[in-house]
């Protein structure tokens, strides 16, 4: 048992929790970027522009049906073959954003479809253009409904950053592997710490999602 507690040195824990900053950083940047790109793709799918919308929809389906791990590996190991070299942090952000945008596009499309048709018709009848209707009337209502599922996606993102340990990004899980590589007795304590930190972060987020869910209902 003393072996268990030996792992909890301030150097080990400081190093591990330093990875939390990278985990949160990747997640936060990716969710903001994918909200932006996801909204664009979602609106294109919602607008049903002949040919273009169904083309974008099919591409979106393909991305959503691939494993994120494959997309991360592709971004970091295969893109250099085309002459695109991204530093490891930004390769992770790019892969996450690419994948999450496709996920969020579905949520945005669903949110837009949930807005009552009368809102469009009313806004158009009052002389707003298509763009203005979208921007001032429909999107604000749709986003309100989308907050809980967006937070759920953020939880997936935080969990999925652990996959970037596969390309040796020094986020929390990878740093855990470094710590227990020094001493195999550290495996269980390190995994326990990682479990607790991920759990607290994600459970906290899920409580926020629940709070919004209740408030918006």
């Amino acid at each position: 048992m003393s072996e268990f507690f030996n792992a909890f040195t301030s150097a080990n824990m400081g190093y591990l929790l330093g990875g939390l900053g990278i985990t949160v950083g990747v997640s936060a940047i990716s969710v903001v970027l994918s909200l932006l790109f996801g909204s664009i793709v979602g609106i294109i799918q919602f607008e049903k522009i002949p040919f273009f919308s169904s083309f974008v929809g099919t591409l979106n389906n393909i991305v959503r049906n691939l494993p994120l791990l494959l997309i991360i590996f592709f971004t970091y190991f295969a893109l250099p073959q085309l002459g695109i070299h991204l530093p490891i942090f930004w390769a992770t952000v790019a892969a996450m954003t690419f994948f999450e945008s496709a996920m969020l596009a579905e949520i945005v499309r669903g949110g837009l479809e949930a807005v009552d048709r009368g809102q469009f018709e009313g806004a158009r009848a009052n002389g707003l253009s298509n763009m203005q209707t979208m921007w001032h009337i429909v999107l604000p209502q749709a986003y309100k409904k989308m907050i809980p599922p967006i937070i759920s996606q953020l939880i997936s993102l935080v969990k999925d950053t652990s996959l970037a340990s596969g390309i040796v990004l020094a986020e929390m899980t990878y740093r855990g592997q470094i710590v227990y590589a020094q001493n195999t007795n550290y495996i269980i304590p390190v995994l326990v710490v990682l479990t607790v930190v991920y759990f607290l972060l994600n459970y906290g987020l899920s409580l926020i999602a629940k709070w919004f869910d209740k408030k918006l209902a």
Binding site: I62, N65, L66, F77, Y203
Partner: protein, 213 residues
Amino acid sequence: MSLLNQYFSVFVQGFGHTLLASIIALIGSLVLGTLFAIMQVSSSKTGRIIGNIYVQVFRNIPLLIITLFLYLAVAKVIKMTGFVAGTVGLTLYTSAFIAESVRAGILSIEAGQMEGARANGLTFNQAMRVIILPQAFKVAIPSLGNQFINLVKNSSILAFVGGLDLMYQGNLVAASSFDTFTTYIIIGVFYLVITMPLSYYVQHLETKLKKKA
């Protein structure tokens, strides 16, 4: 294309492992997930607490951590290969999500169904099995389908523990052929062969359910 020909048996072997892990984990997580969903809606307080803790814990930690725990810690006591550790990890992780889907399905069935069944002399377990669950599953099918798609994608976690799956074999081919780009494209197509038909089928079911409602 020559890459595909040259390494075809390696890809197929990976595809087989991915499919096998997915099917085993699907069956396992359906059983486990349903059990925990029933615990969450049962009248026993301990049952509800255990069910809730299980679902919250496994939903909120990364699959990779669960798998590493099995492969590095549990495997010291109970011998298991990377394939087994990955598949068990996949089962535990997915069962938490399936429990949520099934629980939502159960809660969507009106309370009168349970009351009627109990009034007619069925026990809680009988009523659950014969009356409630068959209706609940019908409602939960699209969401279960989405969980299965996630399961297939998440099976790529096996690559972290030497699980011989598609992603693992793909990394081997990429390392020996030096053509990472083509290899990963081929791997992607293999995954899509499983996930795309499923995803279109789920969409079809969703629109069918929506029309009924």
